[in-house]
């Protein structure tokens, strides 16, 4: 290990710093990558197509701007025409080019033979569960394209209270006097971010139709879309143009891009004003969680940037020093050559 002693203390220290920075950078990148993968609700585009070419978007509405399901249907009809005009076709005959879902929030009372449970409710339409792939323990999801819209998804706690067991898919409950059946039982998300985000409450997922009829709700407050994105920003543009996002009553979020470095730098730029809410929107729990992770990732990005900066600085210094050293060596060799100096093993030491 004698060559180790060739370097000066300063150089050793620099090297240690470089190595440590690199290690920290690697760790942070790993952590960041891991965190980005945590919220399932933000990654439909990746699940949908591993090659890319799709983007996931969400529109959140204030009380005043809540859309009618018919308005959303009209928008969806216009998408067919838009995509065929732009020459975008699905890869196979039966594949879908775009997927949408809408949700509204409220409360509902679910009654079984042995108990009644009052729970927060999400009234959904479209393929909500494609966007939110909860962990299904029993049963299956329902969709807006099903023939009957009287299925509900409950979590284990609700299943336990209503029936005493989790394996209750297919059993009947009553909501507002009308019979509904349990389509599936899911596991509730439970990490700290989700708890804080409000995803920890007992929630019942039922059709928007049922919630507006038998429970209490304001109206549609979230509309999620998966659209083809042949070039960056295409999907966002389609939504802004065709659906119309009014600044006072709606907020558009591009979920697939929110964890890119660019977006995270934007989050950093909004430091200080990020907690301010000028539009009266209450984010759904998944959006809250995603935003929480954004903050964490932004912080990680800060440290990553610092590490990168340190490494860059060290690299520059090392390069320059090396250049200098090489220059000296070169001169030395030239001098040796000129003077006909023979290199021996000893001189090499």
């Amino acid at each position: 290990m004698k060559w180790f002693n060739l370097f000066s203390r300063k150089e050793k220290r620099t090297a240690v710093v470089a190595v440590v920075s690199a290690v920290i950078l690697a760790v942070l990148s790993g952590v960041s990558a891991y965190i980005k993968g945590i919220p399932d609700s933000q990654h439909l585009a990746e699940r949908w197509s591993s090659e890319g070419g799709y983007t996931q978007l969400s529109v959140f509405y204030t009380r005043e701007g809540q859309p009618d399901p018919m308005l959303l249907k009209n928008f969806e009809y216009s998408l067919e025409e838009k995509f065929s005009t732009d020459g975008i076709t699905p890869p196979t005959e039966s594949a879908r080019l775009w997927v949408t879902a809408y949700s509204s929030f409220g409360e509902v009372q679910v009654t079984s033979d042995r108990a009644t449970v009052s729970a927060a409710a999400v009234g959904v339409g479209g393929d909500f569960f494609l966007f939110h792939p909860f962990k299904l323990l029993y049963g299956s999801y329902f969709s807006g394209s099903d023939l009957m819209q009287d299925g509900i998804i409950i979590d284990e706690d609700a299943a336990w209270q209503l029936f005493g067991s989790s394996d209750v898919a297919g059993m009947t409950v009553t909501i507002g006097g009308a019979p509904h059946y349990i389509a599936g039982v899911i596991r509730r998300e439970a990490d700290r971010m989700d708890k804080k985000a409000g995803a920890d409450k007992m929630t019942v997922y039922l059709s928007y139709d049922s919630l507006s009829r038998y429970g209490s709700t304001d109206g549609i407050s979230c509309y999620e879309l998966l659209l083809p994105n042949p070039v960056s920003g295409y999907g966002k543009q389609v939504v802004t143009e065709r659906l119309g996002i009014s600044e006072e009553t709606a907020v558009l979020v591009e979920n697939s891009e929110r964890y890119s470095a660019e977006a995270l730098f934007k989050v950093l730029a909004d430091f200080g004003v990020r907690s301010m809410q000028t539009v009266r929107i209450i984010w759904p729990s998944w959006e809250n969680a995603a935003r929480g992770w954004e903050d964490v990732l932004a912080l990680i990005l800060v440290f990553q940037s610092i590490c990168v900066l340190i490494l860059a600085v060290i690299a520059v210094i090392a390069f320059w020093a090396a250049r200098k050293a090489i220059g000296v060596q070169w001169e030395l060799r030239k001098a040796k050559n000129r003077w006909g100096y023979e290199e021996t093993a000893e001189t090499m030491d």
Partner: protein, 522 residues
């Protein structure tokens, strides 16, 4: 220490170090190798699987509708009575003639009132007779019905009036005659005659005779004398004789006129008397006729009013009798057998006459139920489908069959109305939750719904393929593109490149990508 020893020890240390390192390394490798399966397994997603199997897809349309019974029978009470006790409740089954209500044993209000009215009518009739002084014969005529009919009386009155008119005309004639006679009497200038007519007639005749004979002779003599007169004296005597004759004629004529006038007077007087008598008779007749007419009017009027009163009294009597006869016994019986759908009175309450006491759904009669569904839901149903009743154990023997699919008038564009015929023990207004739908034909490939996944290449399932490797059986998730032919709440029928009986992944502990190694649930 010598140089050599240090060098040797250094070498020895290095060898030890290398040996230790080698041992550690090899043992780690051994452990890893021995437990490699376990380690790898822990990192693999755990999946639960199901067979792809043949099956049927039963997509049911579920909903709740309200039953409307066809024509429940209403039990109506015709009098105002007070309820003593109610013997059945809404929902009870009753047989024909089963007592459903007990009424208090009082006379009905209507009967009491009718009787009171009857008494009033009788007393007013009687006091009316006495007060208004209607002749008793009219009363008897009215009571016995001998008053003669209206038509007869009217005819008689008409006759009387005609007679009265004629008599009045006659009277007028008489008056006229009397006036002319009186004028004539006045014109005679005679105020009174005491001799008889025959005497006067004799006198007249005498005078006339004298006029005809004596006077004529005188005139003839005078004429002769006039003609024979030759002298003045003779002429004067002749003239004197003529004058005497004329005087005599005049005298005699005067007498004649007097006798004539007197005669006329007598004749006129007697004529006047006759006419006067005639007029009196006519007047008497008129009076009688008028009296009779007035009497007839009055009596027929009386008789009429009395008859009317009597008739009214008779009717009232009949009504009282009727009410007495109809007076409901103290029990209200059910006229049909069936189920009581509503009974709205309690003990002590008063039921008004004509109010519906109870409504009974005649058993065995069909009820219908309507339900509004979307057009797609209606499209999956056929007329004749039998519906399953939810909580079927609760309702015994209730069947519902789809009999019609109609346009829903409240949502004509989007909804349809399903009409079911319901038989069994159900009641009007009851709501029933049913599910209806046909079992489909058998499909050769069905999977649970949670097995169907989707991405930009369409829908697919993940089947478990296994391959043998030196380290044991490895399971790989393989993607198979499928098309969903039909689906219901639990499973879907699919078509794809499958043989049937493959294991399809339903749920996994971690997301599974096609081609990824997986492990099966123990």
């Amino acid at each position: 220490m010598s140089e050599e020893t240090r060098a040797t020890r250094g070498a020895k240390n290095r060898k030890d170090w290398v040996k230790n390192a080698a041992i550690i390394f090899l043992s780690v490798m051994l452990v890893l190798t021995l437990f490699s399966n376990t380690f790898m397994n822990y990192s693999l997603p755990e999946v639960s699987t199901q067979y792809v199997a043949p099956g049927t897809i039963t997509s049911k349309v579920r909903g709740t509708g309200t039953i409307s019974a066809a024509d429940p029978y209403s039990v109506v009470l015709n009098e105002t009575r007070v309820v003593a006790s109610v013997l059945v409740r809404s929902g009870d089954t009753v047989e024909k003639d089963q007592v459903i209500l007990m009424l208090e044993e009082t006379e009905s209000e209507e009967l009491k009132n009718a009787q009171k009215q009857l008494e009033q009518m009788i007393s007013s009739y009687e006091s009316g007779i006495i007060a208004s002084g209607i002749p008793a014969e009219d009363v008897y005529a009215a009571q016995n019905g001998t008053g003669g009919s209206f038509a007869e009386n009217l005819a008689r009155l008409a006759e009387l009036e005609a007679a009265i008119e004629t008599t009045e005309k006659q009277l007028q004639e008489y008056d006229k005659q009397i006036i002319s006679l009186e004028d004539q009497l006045a014109a005679t200038g005679v105020s009174g005659v005491s001799e008889s007519e025959s005497y006067l007639q004799g006198k007249l005749n005498e005078t006339q005779a004298v006029l005809d004979t004596d006077i004529k002779e005188l005139f003839a003599a005078a004429e002769k004398a006039m003609n024979e007169a030759q002298t003045e004296e003779e002429k004067a005597a002749a003239e004197e004789a003529k004058r005497y004759a004329e005087g005599e004629k005049a005298r005699k004529e005067g007498l004649k006129a007097m006798w004539q006038a007197q005669l006329q007077y007598i004749q006129l007087s007697s004529q006047l008397k006759t006419v006067g008598a005639g007029k009196d008779a006519a007047q008497e007749r008129l009076l009688k006729l008028t009296e009779e007419s007035t009497d007839l009017r009055a009596s027929s009027g009386n008789i009429q009013s009395l008859t009317a009163q009597l008739q009214a009294i008779e009717e009232q009597r009949a009504l009282v009798e009727e009410l007495k006869a109809k007076e409901t016994a103290a029990e209200v019986k059910s006229p049909v057998s069936g189920t009581v759908t509503s009974i709205s009175y309690r003990a002590g309450e008063t039921i008004e006459a004509g109010a519906t006491v109870a409504a009974i759904q005649i058993s065995g009669k069909e009820c219908t139920m309507t339900m509004s569904v979307t057009a797609e839901q209606a499209a999956s149903l056929r007329v004749g489908d039998v519906a399953d009743i939810q909580n079927a154990w609760y309702y015994s023997g209730v069947t519902a069959v789809l009999t019609a699919i109609r346009v829903d008038p409240s949502n004509p564009q989007t909804n349809k109305l399903l009409v079911f015929t319901v038989e069994g023990e159900v009641m009007d207004g009851q709501s029933l939750s049913i599910s209806v739908g046909q079992k489909s034909a058998e499909y050769s490939l069905t999977v649970p719904n949670s097995a169907i996944r989707e991405d930009n290449n369409g829908k697919f399932i993940l089947i478990v393929e296994y391959k043998q490797s030196p380290l044991g059986t490895r399971y790989v998730a393989t993607r198979v593109d499928v098309e969903v032919l039909a689906s219901d709440e639990t499973s879907s029928a699919i078509s794809g490149l499958l043989n049937g009986y493959e294991y399809v992944i339903t749920t996994a502990s971690k997301p599974v990508a096609p081609g990824q190694l997986i492990r099966l649930t123990e």
